[in-house]
Symmetry: C2
Subunit: 334 residues, 2 copies
């Protein structure tokens, strides 16, 4: 390994001069500068980022900690990356497997130290665990769970989004809308917020929501959505609409409906949440609540950047607005 000292010797200068040239810090005379650069080229020198980090206390790297790399998180990460890079930093992804133990480990001070800031998608952590997160490191939480006041947080307008989708289904003629993957669980969570939106849409339409139409899923995958939908169909309860808690779950429902000979949107209207790329293209097009990746990414990186710049005001809790994207899985205007 070639070190700065080797470059310095080759260029006939001191180590500090090399450092100053490479970091463009103190002004360096042009001839000296040229000699240093020549030596850097000749020796193929590359700075040792670890040593710089230890000395300077800065990595120029931000971590996005996610439960899994695919689908929603991967798409969001692609939106975060340019914003982080615009500030001259790298973005790296770390995975927690939606597992509370690993998620805590990812949050351990040890792991945090190697990043200038951390964006954490909170999936497997409850409020109590999050309360224990005490760190001076800049950190912003992302996701649809309740979080402690002292931590910055960006989440979606879940209830409003579910309301939009359900109201749309009702307006377009559905009267019995399954809330697939929603729940009554007490914790302030994605599935309960979205269930509340579903409920309020009924109320606002002068109808009454039947709790029997709140159908949980075993896991938030297409398979989970498919199985739950098939079970519901088998139960014989009449229905003419499905609001799925995520597009992934909606895709499972679509599959189940197709296999059961139910036509979308003629027999059953379908709406999802997240507006994944694929939802544009899956025939007949899945109506979905857009998860506003741009807005979430911008808010999160903004909050993080502010902290990394030394701002120390109180934590902020941003609720990113959402909008409904109407496609072929719901019927045309009356």
């Amino acid at each position: 390994m070639v070190r700065m000292a080797d470059v310095a010797r080759a260029a006939g200068v001191s180590v500090m001069t090399v450092s100053n040239v490479l970091n463009e810090r103190l002004p360096v005379g042009e001839p000296t500068r040229a000699r240093v650069m020549a030596a850097v080229e000749a020796l193929g020198y590359e700075v040792n980022l670890t040593a710089r980090h230890l000395r300077a206390g800065r990595t120029d790297t931000v971590a996005f900690v996610v439960p899994s790399f695919h689908d929603y998180f991967g798409e969001l990460a692609d939106h975060l990356a340019p914003l982080v890079e615009a500030e001259g930093r790298h973005l790296v992804l770390e995975r927690t497997s939606a597992n509370a133990e690993q998620e805590m480990e990812a949050l351990s001070v040890a792991r945090l130290q190697i990043y200038d800031g951390v964006l954490l998608s909170v999936a497997g952590l409850d409020l109590e665990q999050l309360r224990r997160v005490r760190t001076a490191k800049p950190i912003v939480l992302l996701g649809e769970r309740d979080v402690p006041d002292h931590l910055n947080h960006v989440r979606l307008a879940n209830e409003s989004g579910a309301h939009l989708a359900t109201a749309h289904l009702i307006e377009r003629g559905s009267r019995r809308v399954v809330a697939l993957g929603c729940s009554f669980d007490g914790a302030h969570m994605m599935t309960t917020d979205r269930r509340a939106g579903w409920e309020h849409a009924y109320r606002d339409a002068g109808l009454t929501a039947d709790p029997a139409y709140v159908v949980p899923v075993s896991d938030y995958t297409s398979l989970g959505g498919r199985d739950a939908m098939l079970d519901f169909i088998a139960s014989g309860l009449p229905f003419d609409g499905v609001f799925a808690v995520t597009d992934i779950v909606a895709l499972g429902a679509l599959s189940a409906l197709a296999d059961s000979g139910l036509r979308v949107p003629d027999d059953v209207q379908l709406a999802g949440f997240d507006n994944l790329d694929m939802s544009h293209f899956i025939p007949p097009g899945i109506t979905s609540v857009d998860a506003n990746h741009e807005g979430v990414a911008e808010a999160a990186v903004g909050l993080l950047h502010r902290q990394m710049s030394g701002w120390t005001g109180p934590a902020e809790h941003v609720v990113a607005p959402v909008r409904l994207v109407v496609r072929g899985s719901t019927r045309g205007g009356a």
Copy 2:
């Protein structure tokens, strides 16, 4: 920040004893050990990973460098993570934006130094650029392009997979199969290999492949696939099958076919490549060549692990086998 020295003082031992306790290296007497652990707890000490790295020359971290975080790469990353973790290391993802400049930067010695090993998805780099990658760091290339002999590489059996898919389409009755997203371009390995498989399937069936049915796409997205498919339909050339170069492109084709009133599989059979999760569920189920994430992940991590263990034999070039998964987008057996 609380350092090891603080713990040592609190426990009344030397710094080295603390280090030995925490790393479980040299045996430490039980009472001493208990005192140290108590002090660690009391002070909330966490090891400084940067200092450890600088001193020990080891990060216990592997990077997976990808062109983008979503879809194929995200899914593959989820398969890599457990394998890397099984060896006691972390996996982190870095993005290159399929941009040669950034990809080279990700490969720069400076960036590599902070990882014990690197898995690189080669998307935006050509052979010449890869030849310049000279590093002692363990590195394994993933992807469907040509790479220099001196670098370890894992890729898919592209031609064989395309052959499987096309032969299946022909066997189930298609005679004019569009090779969507394929090409004759020498540089783009994936698309040419898959085109070759398509061609050979024709030949093996005693038919002749018409180059007019090799339809390029502007980019490898669903939108690109959709637009190219719509253009082809508009051209009026008769066709009764589509082999799409990826499932993402196949989804675009499915969308175009649906909008054009063509039924899948009755009017047009469709097959893709990658077997993304969604392909199971998108009605009528997309027949696809499975990208064998397990096999690719296992081979790649195996090669990387071998290098990280100090093995220095010649580079290996693994071709992971693929298989066809038949679903509703192709017709049942004759």
